[in-house]
Symmetry: C2
């Protein structure tokens, strides 16, 4: 939970999630959408991976990233409990 909120607390990482909701992408394709360096993007991807918000699969020399909707669901659940009771 901690790691998920930490991962969500950055506009670039949230934008990466928005990209991945459309289609899976490799690290380079993701990096092309931003102005910061590839190592920085790599760091953000690692952060998302640690939170299990994304899953990475190596495919030859590329690394493919996929959104993990399960974890997003868990956070939605938690937020909904906050909004439940009187």
């Amino acid at each position: 939970m901690n790691r998920v909120f930490k991962a969500l607390n950055d506009p670039i990482r949230r934008e990466i999630l928005e990209l991945l909701k459309e289609k899976d992408m490799n690290a380079g394709e993701i990096a092309d959408h931003f102005e910061i360096t590839k190592p920085s993007i790599s760091h953000h991807l690692d952060c998302l991976k640690q939170a299990e918000l994304v899953i990475s699969v190596k495919k030859g020399q590329y690394v493919n990233y996929t959104l993990n909707k399960t974890v997003v669901d868990e956070i939605i659940q938690w937020l909904m409990t906050i909004n439940l009771k009187k």
Copy 2:
């Protein structure tokens, strides 16, 4: 949005939200639930207030805090769009 995720990225602030979902409380009552000092709690409350996750109303010498469910809803909406498309 930025401020909301920033506010959610701290276990104490999330616990404050969980307290306030049960009932409104003043700053002192909130502070009693934690081991850290009152100024630190005050800082956390300010952070939640900036994110508009809580609303504060002064009542005599006390300051009452209420959960603002509207903003929580907005975050739920955003997360749900992430989980929408293929």
